[in-house]
Symmetry: C2
Subunit: 334 residues, 2 copies
């Protein structure tokens, strides 16, 4: 900037005025400065600019999702990107992979980078460590799982209701031996979906067979093994509720491997691309990712605009998407 000023024969401040399109610069000076800037390949430095003026605002948002390459994460991320773009905010994105340490170190890094707001699908059990940032006024919205240990905005889906919806759907079709394949029970979403499953049984005065409930499945491979084992039981399940997208894929694979994809009913949680083209089409409990992203952006932007209202807790309803796999009847009624 100093060099541009020298070349244009003006002061630093005048270059700044031109760069920021401030008024009170004569057209001739403006043009001289612009020519000098072009000749010298001058590029405005946003970091320095923000340091001086925006009282520390950087025009960037931190977004911590479970896994950028997972379709749920990346859909939500994309929705947030769209909203952020309308506001001229850049997105610093990273994956957490259910790793609490990674969450803490990434948050620390983002805070140090002075992101204007934080969006996170948490991995850790408690987020007390964020209390000071919250007090300091860092806008913060949680997705998919509510915070524990602090109170801040969040947007989640009604997992209990989703689990109940899935289970009721299968019970209504006559299934009585419904298996559940789920992630670690200490994960909020997994616990909720499982609770919904139990509720649905209870509502009919029935009780599920505990032997058919498998949790602690951290990845697709574990899910595959679990479903395989279930299908080999002496009295195997007639239906499966897969409580997360990768586990649902695992179930699809396991069923196909045994040639049972048309005999055992399957309902998944989380919709994903191609769920409608596999055969039979996958019946799932869908989460509206674009609505989630929209809500998250709405809450975050309100905070950015200075809202100090008490935290909003948005709980979106999941929907049952019927496509075929969930409508396979139990053998007895065939």
């Amino acid at each position: 900037m100093r060099e541009v000023a020298a070349l244009a024969g003006v002061s630093l401040k005048t270059v700044s005025r031109v760069v920021n399109r401030e008024p009170n610069v004569s057209p001739s000076v403006r043009e001289r400065v612009e020519r000098a800037a072009a000749k010298l390949d001058y590029r405005h430095n946003l970091a320095a600019s923000n340091l001086r003026k925006a009282h520390g605002r950087t025009g960037s948002l931190g977004a911590l999702v479970q896994d950028i390459s997972n379709s749920f994460s990346s859909s939500v991320l994309r929705g947030i990107e769209n909203a952020a773009r309308d506001r001229g905010l850049a997105l610093v994105a990273a994956s957490l992979d259910e790793d609490a340490d990674r969450e803490m170190s990434l948050v620390r890094d983002l805070v140090t980078r002075r992101v204007d707001g934080l969006i996170m699908m948490p991995s850790s059990d408690r987020q007390d460590y964020l209390a000071s940032e919250l007090r300091a006024g860092l806008p913060m919205v949680f997705i998919d799982r509510p915070p524990t240990g602090i109170d801040c905005d969040y947007v989640v889906v009604d997992n209990v209701r989703g689990g109940r919806l899935a289970t009721e759907h299968l019970l209504a079709a006559g299934h009585r031996r419904i298996a559940v394949v789920a992630d670690d029970e200490h994960i909020y979403t997994a616990a909720g979906r499982r609770a919904g499953f139990a509720e649905a049984y209870a509502a009919r005065g029935l009780s599920p067979d505990p032997a058919l409930i498998v949790s602690g499945l951290r990845n697709e491979a574990a899910g595959l093994a679990a479903v395989d084992a279930l299908l080999r039981l002496a009295d195997p399940p007639t239906a499966i509720f897969a409580s997360r997208n990768t586990l649902c894929v695992a179930a699809v694979r396991a069923l196909a491997r045994c040639g049972l994809q048309r005999s055992v009913a399957l309902v998944g949680f989380d919709d994903f691309p191609l769920a409608d083209v596999i055969e039979p089409g996958l019946t799932v409990i869908g989460q509206d990712t674009s609505r989630i992203a929209e809500k998250v952006a709405e809450l975050l932007f309100a905070r950015l605009d200075g809202s100090t209202a008490r935290p909003h807790h948005v709980i979106l309803p999941p929907t049952l998407i019927v496509r075929g796999s969930g409508e396979i009847p139990p053998p007895a009624s065939r």
Copy 2:
């Protein structure tokens, strides 16, 4: 920092020393400073720090992909994230959506933010506008499509070979009426794949029916309509080569809608999750996204470390992944 210094009864510089773990600070002073920092919720400001010391380095990378929510984009992005994390670099990510204006404005923004390096799947026809950044030493690696108008590092897949591979596979099975559904011909990848298609025909001394070649398909809906129309021809294709992942999905949907998924062969370009579980399994030309990301990171990091070697052009071989849909024979030979 000033407040921390005051509370600890030391100078600014000493706080800086403690924060940066510099030597020559007595344990007692160190502890006093740390306590003061904790009490005041002090957070180091990376932007200011970098402004002063790193000669402008921000410890961040810009990554512009076609669409964060697309499986190809997000897989590559995830690979780059992993590599960036090992180096302590943050990733600023955004989607281009085949929009040249958006590309230019996002690049401008990233430059202004002083990212240390730029990774991009370009949308524009020419990237001359980046010449000055390149001269200025901004490390830059292109993915998926090589740059035009400038010469810099890039990592692409051999699209011609991929197109030929797909087509040869179908020709070898006896198909002679192979349709192509493709994106705009001016897109590098689309053109290459189409050229590979033509090459395969030529190698056998055959020539394709131009009526079966449809390009300019920008999205899934367009692909769906195109495949529908192809199937309704008086003399319809016996096989389809879908030259991009969303078009392949479109083809799958269109075929399923007509109940032809087991009669018309299909080979896609780009692998994606679930391609193996649909029926019949999708035969595709696969790109190794993690290898792409690895290579990109390798090239970019070499530049970050000061390499001024002339640009590397990495062309990775695609592979044919046989799963069933591409092995459906033409009606005549059945």
